[in-house]
């Protein structure tokens, strides 16, 4: 007998989120589970991997396999898992601090390596879990932290531009105020063969209440995604960072190459290790 198709709520676990009311991450969880339902992903063959931070709590709230890993190392775990088990759907998630600072180097090389996984970076421009310090994407003049009372004084990281420069073949941006668009983009990201990077503007109402104004500046890209890296670079360096949608798409062969994907037997491995 065929079982009924799973709904988004079937992909939510019994663990209740403890994010602050008003946090954009609720919307991301909603979009992730909607995308999982739309793609009819098997809960047994899907793994959500995260690092550390408010956003990295998400795998606990989803009904699938999950790994709440080491700070900044979600992408390393996710890529290793996908290479070892290419049959699984692997989605890595984390925040701006986890992904662009502590795990910045893993982000660069994940873009470059192009393993067939999806990375959702939930960017609220602040370290929320540790009570509101400036992160890599915080505005240069953000004065709300007592640690940086005159603002961090350094230019914010541009996730899309960095991802492009490092070789990411699929780059999109979503906004937590538009969960259905986000669900569509997550669905497309998971369906993309290769590394897909979804940058999500996810507000932190507790430490950055000014982010409630994002809804007045966020706008959806109407044109087709850019396919030329040079054109995209010019776009990403000059943009406001509030354009959502699929921004860049230029597929290339993912890693590892096909010839390296055949599983090795124990005898093969023993043979290679023999001196």
């Amino acid at each position: 007998m065929m079982s009924a198709p799973l709904k988004a709520r079937d992909y939510k676990s019994g663990v209740k989120p403890i994010w602050c009311p008003g946090c954009g991450h609720y919307s991301v969880l909603n979009a992730v589970t909607k995308a999982m339902a739309a793609l009819a992903l098997s809960r047994d063959d899907t793994v959500l991997v995260s690092g550390i931070g408010c956003s990295s709590r998400l795998p606990a709230y989803a009904e699938s396999y999950g790994f709440h890993g080491v700070h900044g190392r979600g992408l390393a775990v996710a890529q290793g898992l996908k290479v070892a088990r290419p049959d699984l759907t692997v989605i890595a998630l984390g925040g701006d601090g986890d992904g662009f600072s502590i795990g910045g180097n893993h982000f660069l090389h994940a873009c470059r390596r192009n393993v067939d996984i999806t990375y959702i970076a939930m960017d609220n421009e602040v370290y929320g879990m540790t009570k509101g310090q400036a992160s890599p994407t915080t505005a240069i003049d953000w004065e709300h932290s007592k640690l940086t009372p005159h603002g961090p004084g350094v230019r914010p990281f541009k996730p899309a531009a960095v991802a492009l420069a490092a070789g990411a073949p699929w780059i999109a941006r979503a906004y937590s105020g538009n969960p259905n668009q986000m669900a569509r983009l997550i669905s497309e990201a998971v369906s993309h063969s290769g590394f897909s990077f979804l940058h999500v503007l996810s507000q932190c109402i507790t430490f950055c209440p000014e982010q409630t104004d994002w809804k007045t500046v966020v706008h959806e890209r109407e044109a087709a995604p850019l396919t030329d890296a040079g054109e995209a670079a010019a776009r990403f360096f000059g943009e406001s960072g509030f354009e959502t949608g699929l921004l860049y798409q230029n597929p290339r062969a993912s890693w590892p190459p096909q010839r390296q994907r055949e599983p090795a037997s124990l005898a093969d491995i023993a043979g290679r290790l023999r001196v």
Binding site: P5, A8, R9, K16, P17, I18, W19, C20, P21, G22, C23, G24, Y26, S27, N30, K34, A38, K131, G132, Q133, H144, S145, K146, L147, S176, G177, N178, P179, N180, Q181, A183, R184, S187, Q203, I205, T206, F207, P209, T212, K215
Partner: protein
């Protein structure tokens, strides 16, 4: 599109809208309860109950065959279902008045959606049903408006916290 198909399409939208509203109110109630804002949590829980009743009403509408299934982004609304409170509109310090105002916005949006559907459909049965749902939402809105009249105005210090989230570093 045939009349039966039009009716099924409408019911699929109503079902998704009411289910999403119910789930959203429940999630917000749980979040507010976790943060000890019990007054607002109880109100959102009660609104989830109202949505559940409306959902049952939609589900019980007699119709032959399955309703069409849409991907979340293919429904006739741009970002989020009309009756669903935005996750981002709430705050752990919000008062009951603000919660009622949000619920009122939801009811008005739902009413507008159903009314617009009734106006644009060419199927008489769909128009009749959409109009009756719009009237129900309008009634919900009126009850919330009445309740709002008896609540004190929002305090300017609503969001002030005796134990603020920001700590000295």
């Amino acid at each position: 599109m045939s009349g039966a198909m039009e009716l099924k399409r409408f019911l699929a939208h109503a079902l998704e809208m009411e289910e999403e509203a119910m789930n959203r109110y429940r999630e917000l109630a749980e979040a507010l309860r976790e943060h000890n804002n019990l007054l607002v949590a109880d109100f959102f829980e009660a609104m989830a109950g109202e949505s559940a009743k409306h959902l049952e009403e939609v589900k019980s509408f007699p119709i032959a065959g399955d309703l069409p299934v849409f991907d979340p982004w293919d429904y006739d609304w741009p970002a989020d279902a009309p009756e669903s409170t935005s996750y981002e509109a709430v705050h752990y310090r919000m008062d009951l008045r603000r919660a009622l105002e949000l619920a009122l916005e939801n009811e008005r949006e739902a009413q507008a959606f159903y009314a617009q559907y009734a106006e644009s459909t060419t199927d008489l049965e769909t128009a009749r049903l959409a109009s009756s749902y719009a009237a129900e939402e309008a009634d919900h809105a009126r009850r919330l408006e009445e309740r709002l009249k008896h609540l004190p105005p929002t305090s300017p210090s609503q969001f002030e916290d005796d134990d603020p989230a920001h700590i000295p570093e």
